[in-house]
């Protein structure tokens, strides 16, 4: 463990680290554009230059000291890139000195000579490294009065990425990402000097399942998302940490929300799961279903066969009556891997207490084509592992055909589908089950063919509207918080808020946003249990999780706070914390959306609610 001194402050660095990395790990922010911990360091942006020196030795090997007894440091005559300079014992680094500051000013001035400064029309504005550094590390003025270079501003690189050559600062992060991480090197620099730009190799496209990560990687707005382009300015949105429900990997992500609608998903660093990345499919497919085609309220099928919206009380009464109208043996339940651990636990309790003889089947959704050797896995549901662990012996091992046969032979009269569309996943078999059931109850967030033929539809909250935990394919339990409000929970306590959310009034058009009368499953079940005369005393997801942690072995001693602190905890590993890893965040200027403190406010609010 070599000790280095940055501006005289001793720092315990690790062998083989660069000065920059060691400094960042110890909270000293040395500016950098081209360096990224996952990739090689070409040292081509030059904003990270520092003054480096070693204690001078006398010919006999001992250190030379000045009259006060301090070692004399011999500094190199030229500044060195800290992103490339390896640490060594006794290294002295000067960062906050006029020489270094002068060089930062010079680098920024050079970078801005040909930069178009079109921040008003640039999607990166508000979370741009160049903007940030122009504030902190530049003179604030340009002496350049000549015409700037012009380059193409709208180059389509692939299905998801657009390149603006004028804004590029030639840091080469995207090139190294394509080469070193994706092993799909289709882009490279062409030309030289101020004419340098990036081009695709002839006949290629930047078309990769992970191509959109370059958008966050790019320190400026040169690479923008075709999906998100111009939808909103970042400072208008709130960014809530969440977990991608797209597959069992459970990549950590931020949910970007404006006016109660999700506009984009972006990766969030978690070195134990997804590192800095996320797949394109995840970010493009995992938010539209939250915004569109929702079931806004519980629906009941009336005599004439149409679905009518009803209140939650009525819907749950109907639900309980329907469950009681048949023998528990005649109830078949289809559970989705989309449910959170809390939901699964509440379901387990509900089944054990009220309908212990029911046949419960887990619906898995596998897509071998989705799987690859990077992040994506074939299990397309975020919590299959958790539901399996929690429901355990409650689950029956049945094949789809067996289940269908039981329904058709009327062994199962009431089918209750939770969180899935039978037809979409099971095709023809699913349709036969939906048609064959005497009573079909569906808990779903989105309208689908199955909800159309149901007798009762309970509107389920999506991952973005509830708090909970998912257990990913490696058994890692990860916590997420709601990003959207619902009609039932119109307050944003504990959530991230944007300026609009915070300041808007009820009569501002934009402050409404679409809000649905949807509930997480555990909440529905707790309410149904109280109809049946049991008080579960679950007021918030944390209560359910506390009960879960006491009951199911793998979750023992887990709490939400602990999960957040350790970036998720593998099942049964609460007492063996992993060695801490540095979580690097490239663009720190992303508006740190405010948060209403959970614990005090939320509890108080619940009391007068």
């Amino acid at each position: 463990m070599p000790t280095i001194y940055i501006d005289g402050k001793p720092i315990e660095a690790r062998e083989g680290q660069s000065i920059l990395e060691a400094a960042l790990e110890h909270g000293i922010e040395i500016p950098h554009f081209c360096w990224h911990p996952a990739m090689s360091a070409p040292a081509n942006c030059r904003i990270c230059l520092v003054k480096v020196g070693m204690p001078r030795r006398k010919p006999d090997g001992s250190f030379e000291t000045d009259e006060n007894g301090n070692p004399v440091i011999q500094y190199m005559p030229k500044l060195q890139p800290s992103c490339r300079y390896p640490v060594s014992e006794g290294l002295h680094v000067l960062f906050q000195v006029p020489e270094v500051i002068e060089s930062q000013h010079a680098v920024m001035e050079f970078l801005l000579i040909n930069h178009p400064l079109d921040c008003p029309i640039c999607d990166e504005a508000g979370e741009c490294k160049l903007q940030e550094y122009a504030y902190f590390y530049s003179r604030g003025k340009s002496r350049f009065v000549e015409e700037k270079n012009h380059k193409p501003k709208h180059v389509i690189w692939g299905p998801n990425v657009i390149f603006d050559a004028e804004r590029c600062i030639s840091c080469s992060r995207c090139i190294r990402y394509a080469d070193e991480i994706l092993h799909d090197p289709v882009i490279d620099f062409v030309n030289r000097g101020d004419h340098v730009t990036i081009e695709l190799f002839p006949g290629t496209q930047f078309d990769n399942p992970y191509s959109m990560n370059v958008i966050e990687l790019c320190p400026v707005g040169a690479l923008t998302s075709r999906d998100f382009r111009f939808k909103a300015r970042v400072w208008e949105m709130s960014f809530t940490p969440s977990v991608c429900p797209g597959c069992a990997r459970g990549c950590n992500m931020y949910v970007g929300v404006l006016h109660n609608q999700i506009l984009r998903l972006q990766p969030r660093t978690n070195m134990y799961v997804n590192q800095y990345w996320m797949c394109d499919a995840g970010r493009l497919t995992q938010y539209p279903f939250v915004n569109e085609n929702r079931i806004d309220k519980p629906l009941v099928c009336t005599e004439n066969g149409t679905l009518t919206e009803v209140s939650w009380e009525e819907a749950l009464d109907t639900f309980w009556n329907k469950l009681q109208s048949v023998d528990a043996k005649e109830i078949g339940i289809v559970v989705s891997g989309m449910l959170t651990n809390e939901d699964a636990f509440a379901l387990r309790r509900f089944i054990r207490e009220h309908i212990p003889a029911a046949t419960v089947m887990l619906m898995t959704v596998e897509d071998p084509e989705f799987e690859d050797d990077f992040l994506r896995v074939r299990d397309r549901r975020p919590n299959t592992r958790g539901v399996q662990t929690i429901l355990g012996d409650v689950l029956a091992s049945l094949s789809v055909e067996e289940f269908r046969a039981k329904v058709e032979s009327k062994q199962l009269k009431l089918v209750w589908v939770i969180g899935e569309d039978l037809e979409q996943v099971w095709g023809e078999e699913g349709r036969k089950i939906a048609d064959g059931a005497d009573t079909l109850i569906v808990a779903a967030s989105n309208a689908s063919p199955t909800t159309q033929v149901a007798d009762l539809v309970l509107s389920l909250a999506t991952y973005a509207e509830m708090e909970g935990t998912f257990t990913n394919i490696d058994g890692r339990v990860q916590h997420f918080i709601p990003a959207l409000t619902t009609a039932e929970r119109p307050y944003r306590w504990g959530m991230k808020v944007s300026r609009w959310d915070k300041m808007g009034a009820w009569n501002d058009r934009w402050s409404h946003g679409p809000r649905r009368h949807c509930r997480p499953l555990w909440q529905m079940l707790a309410a149904t249990a109280s109809i049946a005369g049991h008080s579960w005393n679950y007021r918030k997801a944390a209560d359910v999780f506390a009960d879960l942690a006491q009951t199911v072995e793998g979750f023992a001693r887990m709490t939400y706070a602990l999960l957040d602190e350790r970036h998720g905890i593998p099942l049964g590993k609460v007492d063996e914390p992993e060695p801490p890893v540095f979580h690097y965040d490239s663009h720190r200027l992303k508006p740190e959306s405010e948060e209403y403190r959970y614990v005090q406010v939320y509890d108080k609010a619940e009391q007068w609610w």
Partner: protein, 176 residues
Amino acid sequence: MNVNQPSERQKMTFWEKLYLPEIARGLGITFKMLIGPKMTIQYPEEKYHPGGYYRGRPVLVLDEDGERCVACGLCSRVCPPLAIEVRAGETDREKERYPVKFEINMLRCIFCGLCEEVCPEEAIVMSKDLEMVFENRESAILGKEKLLVPVAQLQDRLEYLRMHQYYEPPARAQDA
């Protein structure tokens, strides 16, 4: 606490106690104004036409080749009472963005002029429009069709703005 303290009364002289001389002086001013040049106008029969300095209803500038606004949202961010909502869209024009939706809630607007000051495109300016009557809350939210005003009608204000560009970034210590 911000409560007015009763101040000590000043002793009045004999003449002041009489009041009459002061009343006569006051009436003198009244009659002088009555026959002097008039400062008021007979609004609404007579219209008021302020100069370029006037900060009336904020409007969007419509150039010959379309609107200037690029929907950057800076006005919306700076607006103290959150009166402005902007939603951007993509166009083929050189500046790539345009406002799909631009709404100013005139019930919220306080006519501060900050939106005009912050706009990088000189696309939103304070007009001379001072007559705003709304029958309900919805009609007080002005959309693009009500906001866009041809640039020819805004020359006064644009000229005024150009003449009064005081802002010069303060020099930092290290520049000196």
